[in-house]
C-alpha cells in the first residue's frame, strides 16, 4: 500500500474514533422519560424497604465501573439536599437478573422513582447534577 493511502487510512481511523467519542459524550447523562409507565416494586430493589415519600434515586453499578464512584457522590449529595429523597446503589456484579430486568446496558444507570415506584426518569451514564435536581423538583411538584 502506498504511503498516501496509509496516511489516509490512519486519518480515517482517528476520524471514526473521534466521531464515536463525540456521540458517546453527547449521550452521557441524557435523561430519558420513556418507560414512565413502568412501576417498580420496592422488594425488587435490593437495599430498599419502601420508597421515599419524595423520590428515590436508584443507581446501578458494578465492581468494575470507573465513573460509578463519582456518580455515587453526586447522587448522594443531591439526595442529602432534600428531606424526602433517598439514594440507593445496586451492585449488579452478582445480580445479572436485576441487570436484565431493568435492561441496564451501561453503568452507571440511574432510575428516578416517585413515591409509588413509578419510573419518572432514566439516566444512562454519569448524570449531571442539574438534571437530577430538575427531575426531582418535577416529581415533587406533582
Amino acid at each position: 500500500m502506498d504511503v498516501i493511502t496509509v496516511a489516509l487510512s490512519l486519518v480515517g481511523l482517528v476520524a471514526v474514533s473521534t466521531t464515536i467519542g463525540l456521540v458517546w459524550r453527547a449521550r452521557q447523562g441524557r435523561v430519558s422519560h420513556r418507560g414512565a409507565d413502568t412501576v417498580v416494586k420496592a422488594q425488587d430493589v435490593p437495599g430498599v424497604e419502601r420508597f421515599a415519600a419524595g423520590a428515590t434515586l436508584v443507581q446501578f453499578s458494578t465492581e468494575v465501573c470507573a465513573p460509578c464512584s463519582a456518580t455515587h457522590s453526586v447522587l448522594k449529595e443531591t439526595a442529602a439536599d432534600y428531606t424526602n429523597v433517598t439514594h440507593v446503589n445496586v451492585d449488579l456484579t452478582h445480580r445479572p437478573d436485576i441487570a436484565k430486568r431493568f435492561r441496564v446496558m451501561q453503568t452507571p444507570t440511574t432510575l428516578i422513582l416517585d413515591s409509588k415506584g413509578r419510573v419518572r426518569a432514566r439516566i444512562g451514564g454519569a448524570p449531571r447534577p442539574g438534571s437530577v435536581r430538575a427531575e426531582i423538583d418535577r416529581i415533587l411538584a406533582t
Binding site: 500500500m1 504511503v3 493511502t5 496509509v6 496516511a7 487510512s9 490512519l10 481511523l13 482517528v14 471514526v16 474514533s17 473521534t18 464515536i20 467519542g21 463525540l22 458517546w24 459524550r25 458494578t62 465492581e63 468494575v64 465501573c65 470507573a66 465513573p67 464512584s69 463519582a70 455515587h72 457522590s73 449488579l92 456484579t93 452478582h94 445480580r95 445479572p96 441487570a99 436484565k100 441496564v104 446496558m105 451501561q106 453503568t107
Partner: protein, 178 residues
C-alpha cells in the same frame, strides 16, 4: 506538587484498604498506547506480510505490537499502579499538573488492561499464523478503545464487564455464596 491528595477523597474513590489512583495516569498511558498502535497499523499497511514465520516475527510493526501486548499483560497481571507508563506519568507529567480533583479505583483500568491484552494477544497469534491484516484489524480495535479512553475518558472495560455479568460469565458463581 507531589503531595498525595487528601485521604477524604480517596475514601470515596477506592475500595477500603486500597489507595485510589490519579485518573489521568491511565488516560496518559492509553494515549501512548494509541500512538504506538497507529505506528503498528502504518508499518503493517506499508509492507506486505512475510511468507515465513521468522519473516513475520521480525517485522518492525510486529515487534512493536509484541511490546504493546506484553505491556497490556503486565498491566493486567501486576495492576495498573505498577504499569511502566504510570511511572513515566509520575516522573514527567504529574509534577507539571495540579492535584487531581478526585482519585479513582484502580480495578476498572486494570480490567481494561486485561481486555487490551486479550485483543492484542489475538492479533499477535493471527499474525504469526500468517493471517493477512490480523495485526491491522486487532490493532485498529485496540486503537479505538485506547483513543476513546485517552481522549474522552470512555471505559470500554466497564462496558464489557457489565456484558460479561449479564451473560453470567462473571459474578454469577459468587451469587450462590452470598
Amino acid at each position: 506538587m507531589s503531595t498525595p491528595p487528601p485521604s477524604s477523597n480517596s475514601s470515596l474513590a477506592a475500595k477500603p484498604g486500597q489507595a485510589g489512583i490519579d485518573p489521568r495516569s491511565p488516560r496518559f498511558g492509553a494515549g501512548i498506547t494509541a500512538v504506538l498502535l497507529l505506528i503498528v497499523i502504518a508499518l503493517s499497511l506499508v509492507a506486505p506480510i512475510g511468507i515465513t514465520t521468522l519473516e513475520r516475527a521480525s517485522e518492525p510493526g510486529f515487534v512493536l505490537f509484541s511490546i504493546i501486548t506484553v505491556l497490556f499483560g503486565w498491566g493486567a497481571i501486576a495492576g495498573i499502579q505498577r504499569h511502566p507508563y504510570g511511572a513515566i506519568f509520575r516522573a514527567l507529567v504529574r509534577p507539571r499538573l495540579g492535584l487531581p480533583t478526585q482519585l479513582e479505583d484502580p480495578v476498572p483500568p486494570t480490567f481494561a488492561q486485561g481486555v487490551g491484552f486479550v485483543i492484542t494477544l489475538a492479533g499477535f497469534t493471527l499474525h504469526l499464523l500468517g493471517v493477512p491484516y490480523g495485526l491491522v484489524i486487532t490493532g485498529s480495535a485496540a486503537f479505538v478503545a485506547a483513543f476513546l479512553n485517552s481522549v474522552f475518558g470512555y471505559c470500554l472495560g466497564c462496558q464489557i464487564y457489565l456484558l460479561l455479568v449479564r451473560t453470567g460469565i462473571i459474578g454469577r458463581s459468587a451469587a450462590t455464596g452470598t
